[in-house]
Symmetry: C2
DNA sequence: TCTAAATTTAACCAGTTGGTTAAATTTAGG
DNA sequence: CCTAAATTTAACCAACTGGTTAAATTTAGA
């Protein structure tokens, strides 16, 4: 018997990933995925039962890819300002590689909030937030920073990192930027976002 | 001859708006829109030629609804910090009323960046940004704030206002918040976001 | 009341959708 | 080389898609 030849299966998954991220669950076409993988449509169903199933696999992969490292950095034992710099630079690094993931995740999660309840329960973010909050509280006590919740600070960090990238087409349109001007603006943010956040909370 | 009875036409548009915003262009169904409006599907085509056409009408309406007021506030003749507070509170006010619009606009613009080139050219945002930049430069000269471009500041404001609302399902999932906890967090931001921004740029 | 335009409908259509099926081909191991 | 499992295919299907058509009904004005 032929040993499971991963090449085909992975090729399909790879093309499916592109299709789903680009067009979403509703917009992606099984036929298109099959064509781009250079195989028959029935073969896609042979490997991945259904569109929904294939989508779920990909969605959970992308979701984890995006949040797995954040927890590590957030609970690391380094000074707060340094940590903020690290989170921002980690975010921007990932986002440069995979700029389409946040919109994809938010979109599909917004369409179906019940998706992916199982796999994520392992990553207990509560603990991570607690650790981060304790570190913040320490700095507040030392009068180094203003009072803020870990929740709000983390959301601010993510907002300032993620939004400018996921809103790219809107920003380009509203501010009438060329691709080059947009890229320059993002480059500038790599240097300035962390400083902006630190200034905002510093006493 | 019957005078154009707006009720039906507007009812269709209203249901189409809901459908498009909820499910996007690809996900929305003409039949579904007709059903929800309590009429026949052919009637939808009678009033609005095609799905694309109907979508374009709605998209442009929503886009303008979202950016029309921003220009006014940005070029108003009020102190910078006050202006920041006003922009933030305007944003959050609109977003509370129409929380789904940003995701909708970004999504569909991302799917088709060429959409809606005509109607938006009237609103020259360049001028607005220039005015805002001049005001910022003045404050910089007076040593009141740190140096920053109007572009970056505006993007920061929008990021901190819009992202937490459009990423709602993701934030709820990642931070494991109940609806109530999420709403409390948004309420808190209404008070804190403007202060956060002002602190970030203040000297 | 008559009529021509505006409105609304049921029935239909061709193309596309995700998915199935049964048969063909390839493969690894004995 | 045989064979049973794994892989791949072509052909098919029912449901659904956006859109059309021609006929029926309602409406306002003369």
């Amino acid at each position: 018997m032929k040993q499971k030849d991963n090449t085909t299966e992975e090729l399909i998954l790879q093309e499916a990933r592109k299709a789903f991220i680009q067009k979403g669950l509703a917009g992606a076409r099984m036929q298109d995925i099959a064509d781009k993988a250079g195989i028959n449509k029935a073969l896609v169903h042979y490997y991945f039962k259904s569109k929904e199933n294939m989508f779920t696999i990909i969605f959970e992969q992308e979701f984890e890819k995006f949040f797995s490292h954040l927890a590590t950095v957030l609970s690391a034992d380094i000074p707060l300002f340094e940590k903020i710099e690290q989170v921002v630079s980690l975010d921007i690094e990932r986002l440069s590689q995979f700029p389409d993931i946040p919109l994809f995740v938010i979109n599909e999660l917004s369409q179906n909030p019940g998706r992916m309840t199982k796999r994520f329960k392992q990553m207990r973010t509560e603990n991570v937030l607690d650790i981060f909050q304790r570190q913040i509280n320490n700095e507040v006590k030392k009068r180094m920073i203003k009072k803020i919740t870990a929740q709000q600070l983390l959301i601010n960090i993510q907002s300032l990192s993620v939004f400018p990238i996921m809103a790219k087409p809107m920003i380009k349109k509203v501010m009438q930027l060329t691709e080059k001007q947009y890229q320059q603006m993002i480059q500038l943010r790599k240097k300035e976002v962390a400083a902006f956040i630190i200034n905002a909370i510093k006493n």
